[in-house]
């Protein structure tokens, strides 16, 4: 009995080393498997990737490298991720299987692809030593966004260690912002009628509210006040919001996502300024279609899918995502890729352990409940 326990102890102690040693000892076997996989994938000729939103465009130069390297066509669907998912689910319901790989958000995958049985476990597809080597990934492990921690692989995350807000410097002078110290300060009557926010028809706006619901600095009451009582003016159109902020019609935006454009406008001398409030817990988040990769069941090109999945997570491909996509608003969970185009505020600080709610197996269900509650609140505005 003791001997058996001792063996378990040894295995637990040196588990990673055994794995690494195993991986390191198998290059010849891997090379052979890899070559066979490439040959099989080439015979299939194509890999179909379901994606949407900005990432479906952002990844074009990256997948072009794959196409040139392996001579396999990559078809990436574009447009709205929800439309892509609708189409794929309708096809699958009719017994038509057209997609191999999903580059789709955790939320879409968790709430729709996974419950419909469209995805298969991703872990068994991983064979490339560079991907299997957990030591090169954040906190020495692979990260998944599903309750079984084996299907929705998270490779890119955005960092949130402070709250960002923006104001118009013509209408609000810097000393006035000194009164803004915590999140509830935005609800001071002096700001009523002066604030703007993203509507819940904007997926990022909704995502921000879901995140806020779980954050100690904000929470459900804050979300309720923000949506119903704080006197914000909402629009789902970010360009309209931007014009209002720059023109000063509504000079304060307390919750902001995708602020790259605002940063550009600010740098070009327009009267808007970014400011920050502290956050109790620094977080990393997997949001949007650019965070995660998963594999479809009954894929028409299973070998090409496997090849793409492995290649996409290698150092080379993850480096390409950092270097070929300008102003990337997130970064790879691989620790061994150069920062490239990732802006400084999105770079993880070495040695810091961030909260990572999307990787919590129970978070998906709680997130879905919060989403329902928020959408109900939002609709109640229309009474």
């Amino acid at each position: 009995m003791f001997g058996f326990l001792f063996l378990i102890f040894l295995a637990a102690l040196f588990g990673d080393s055994f794995t690494l040693a195993g991986a390191a000892e198998k290059p010849a076997a891997f090379d052979e498997e890899w070559s066979k996989l490439i040959a099989a994938a080439k015979r299939e000729g194509t890999v179909a990737v379901a994606s949407g939103g900005a990432p479906s465009r952002q990844y074009r130069p990256v997948v072009e490298v794959f196409q040139k390297r392996f001579g396999i066509t990559v078809e990436v669907s574009t447009g709205s991720a929800t439309d892509t998912v609708n189409r794929v689910l309708a096809e699958r319901k009719a017994g038509k299987y057209t997609m191999d790989i999903a580059l789709i958000s955790v939320r879409e995958a968790q709430q729709r692809l996974l419950p419909s049985g469209s995805l298969i476990p991703f872990t068994p597809l991983l064979i490339h030593p560079e991907v299997l080597d957990k030591s090169v990934w954040y906190l020495n492990r692979h990260w998944y966004g599903d309750k079984n921690s084996n299907t929705i692989f998270i490779y890119h995350v955005s960092k949130e260690d402070k709250y960002e807000y923006w104001y118009n410097t013509d209408k609000i002078k810097e000393p006035e912002t000194a009164s803004l110290k915590k999140q509830t300060d935005f609800f001071d009557p002096r700001w009523k009628g002066k604030m703007l926010g993203q509507g819940m028809g904007d997926p990022s706006g909704l995502r921000q509210m879901i995140d806020s619901y779980f954050e100690p600095d904000r929470g459900p009451d804050w979300v309720k006040t923000y949506l119903l009582d704080a006197g914000l003016t909402f629009s789902d159109d970010r360009r309209i919001l931007e014009t209002w902020l720059v023109g000063g019609r509504f000079p304060l935006q307390p919750v902001v996502t995708g602020s790259e454009d605002l940063i550009t406008l600010s740098k070009k001398g327009l009267p808007i300024k970014q400011a920050f409030l502290s956050k109790q817990v620094a977080l990393i988040r997997a949001g949007g279609s650019g965070c995660c990769i998963s594999a479809f069941a009954n894929a028409p090109h299973p070998n090409a899918a496997k090849l793409f999945a492995n290649w996409f997570l290698t150092k080379e491909a993850q480096t390409l995502t950092h270097t070929l996509i300008p102003n990337l608003d997130r970064s790879s969970l691989r620790n061994d890729v150069p920062v490239g185009e990732v802006p400084p505020d999105q770079r993880r600080v070495a040695g810091v352990e961030y909260g990572f709610p999307d990787a919590d197996p129970k978070f998906g269900a709680r997130q879905a409940e919060a989403q329902k509650w928020i959408l109900k609140l939002w609709e109640s505005r229309q009474k």
């Binding site: 078809e75 447009g79 709205s80 904007d202 309209i240 019609r249 109640s380």
Partner: protein, 601 residues
């Protein structure tokens, strides 16, 4: 007093057998079957599935129940949104309808200079997509930042901007400047042109002035056409969406269609409740069809006969005043939005002159590997829709108005009902149809599926516009052709086609525009290989990509190819159709003579 013949009495079948019974029944059965399958079956599929109580149709197992029907009507603010929709519709129609009728009359019945060019400009106004027009008006009438408000404030005329686009009047204005006026002028002008001046001359000889003639003769004769335009507008009451959504949300103003859109765009789309809410349009249709039939059957509306004389009223110097007013309106409808579109495409960022100008957006679009594919697909779809749809719709309209074949009421209902469901829901129904029908799955993901959709998508407007013309044309020419021994097909091509040409051109252009701009109806059917320019523009202007400058460039391309298409259609129409105005009477007389002499070959 002798009663005017009713529409049924006018139908040629009473005096001339329109079709050999067997052939006629066969054709009707085929039309009902094919159209029923592609037009009505997707709607029926949606309605059946609205009783599938599952929250996510694609994910959860099917459970039959009334949940969606109950929940849909318990949505907060539903009644208010209905009221808001009705308010916007009423206000928009109150302005656009009289203006549309007046302009159509001026263009068609008076000696206003450049009337055909002005009419063509209204076509161009119709070709400019709604979204860029609304954005352009936001840039002009935003209360604080709009160029017009800022200009008026800087001139010292006002202390603050007098206009606010984010208001009910703002929404109505944007609707009028969008397609509100243009579509009515487009649809009504050909009908006014088809009027025999003999009746107006008789009124004048009887001592009536121009105005009295208009109200006592011209407008009553135009009642079917005006009714159709109004009915088609009514059909859109719960579908008009973009402008209301963009301008209404900032001041908490929601319309019925916003509710439908929100349900479809939910993170987990609620197609069930969206279908329930959209199906309310069927009630509107239930109102439209009997009213339309009642009006059409009350009296006779024939305005084109073998002795057709298209005389025009000379208003003297008022011709030029009217020209100036219409030209000024056209500047607002076309030049303004087009200028903003083109200017925006060269701006570093739309709305910020201080950031300067650039060619980067053009390079971005032209270097996009999808662009050429999308352009090619759009051209194929546009051209197919422009060629096939008008012919198909004219045959359907002919069957509905000029024959007594059984099943006409069902066919009419089919045409109306299929227009009741918004594009994106109809797209879902079609997706099921293609995926669920053995043999049709082959079309899925190919351009053929899109071709079928774009050919049929303008049917409600197209068929009804054609019906309007068939009601106007007297039976004498067709009867003459039949007496001369011409068969149905020959009569159709030698008599009807030349008479219908102006309307066919109109429907061709409208379908070209609809095909080139289709998004909702094809978004679930298009693949990366069959991406269209409109889908590309939608993607570029989406929240996630938010490249409105590049989307403007795509819109410019769509407008450019549509204008070119319209020019080609007009040129072809001029060759095929009966010559307009002065030459029309002899041409019609020739057709009738030829028919009478049996020389139609």
């Amino acid at each position: 007093m002798e009663r005017s013949p009713t529409l049924d009495e006018l139908r040629v079948a009473r005096s001339v057998p329109a079709l050999h019974p067997t052939a006629g029944h066969f054709i009707m059965a085929a039309v009902l079957l094919v159209l029923g399958y592609f037009l009505v079956w997707p709607v029926v599929l949606l309605l059946i599935n609205s009783f599938n109580a599952a929250g996510d149709w694609f994910v959860e197992p099917r459970v039959w129940g009334l949940r969606h029907w109950q929940n849909a009507f318990l949505r907060p603010g539903l009644l208010r949104s209905l009221g808001n929709s009705a308010l916007i519709w009423l206000l928009t129609v109150s302005f656009s309808f009289p203006i549309g009728v007046a302009i159509a009359w001026l263009l068609a019945r008076t000696r206003i200079p450049f009337s055909h060019s002005l009419e063509f400009m209204f076509w161009i106004a119709y070709m400019v997509p709604t979204l860029p027009t609304t954005i352009a008006w936001i840039s002009l009438l935003d209360p604080d930042l709009g160029f017009i408000n800022v200009g008026l404030t800087k001139l010292g005329l006002f202390t603050q901007g007098p206009f606010n686009i984010f208001s009910v009047p703002g929404i109505v204005w944007a609707n009028l400047m969008g397609h509100g006026i243009a579509i009515k002028v487009m649809l009504l002008t050909p009908a006014f042109r088809n009027m025999d001046s003999t009746l107006e001359e008789a009124a004048r000889v009887g001592g009536a002035g121009n105005l009295r003639t208009v109200f006592r003769v011209t407008l009553p004769l135009m009642l079917p056409a005006m009714m159709l335009v109004l009915a088609l507008q009514l059909l859109r009451i719960f579908q008009s969406f973009e402008t209301e959504y963009l301008l209404g949300m900032p001041f908490g103003f929601y319309v019925y269609s916003t509710k439908i859109f929100a349900l479809i765009r939910d993170p987990v789309p609620n197609y069930g409740e969206a279908t329930v809410l959209a199906s309310m349009t069927l009630l509107v249709i239930a109102l439209i069809i009997p009213v339309q039939r009642w009006i059409l059957e009350r009296r006779r509306y024939t305005t084109i006969t073998g002795s057709f004389r298209p005389g025009l009223i000379d208003m003297g110097r008022w011709n030029y005043v009217a020209f100036g007013a219409i030209a000024a309106l056209l500047v607002l409808l076309t030049i303004g939005p087009l200028f903003i579109l083109v200017l925006g495409s060269f701006m570093t960022r739309i709305g910020y002159f201080t950031l300067g100008f650039t060619l980067d957006h053009w390079k971005f679009v032209l270097n996009d590997p999808v662009f050429i594919k999308a352009l090619r697909t759009t051209l194929v779809l546009g051209a197919t829709a422009a060629i096939i749809s008008p012919l198909l719709f004219s045959v359907i309209a002919y069957i509905l108005v000029r024959t007594r074949l059984p099943g006409r009421a069902a066919l009419d209902l089919m045409v109306w009902c299929s227009g009741a469901i918004p594009g994106i829901l109809a797209g879902l129904g079609l997706l099921w149809l293609f995926l669920g029908t053995p043999g049709l799955g082959f079309f899925f993901g190919t351009i053929w599926a899109l071709i079928i959709v774009v050919i049929l998508q303008g049917k409600t407007t197209g068929v009804n516009v054609m019906k309007g013309v068939f009601v106007q044309v007297g039976a004498d020419m067709e009867e003459a052709a039949r007496v001369a021994g011409a068969g149905w097909l020959r009569t159709y091509f030698r008599i009807w086609l030349p008479l219908l040409t102006p309307t066919l051109m109109l429907v061709a252009v409208m379908n070209f525009v609809a095909a080139a701009g289709a998004t909702g109806s094809i978004i679930l059917l298009a693949s990366r290989d069959t991406m269209t320019l409109s889908l590309m523009a939608l993607e570029l202007s989406s929240i996630a990509v938010s490249n409105r400058e590049a989307a403007s460039i795509i819109s410019i391309f769509i407008i450019a190819i549509t204008v070119l298409g319209a020019i080609v259609v007009r040129a072809l129409g001029a060759r095929v159709g009966v010559r307009a105005h002065a030459s029309a009477a002899p041409a019609l007389a020739n057709v009738t003579e030829a028919a009478k002499s049996g020389n139609l070959a």
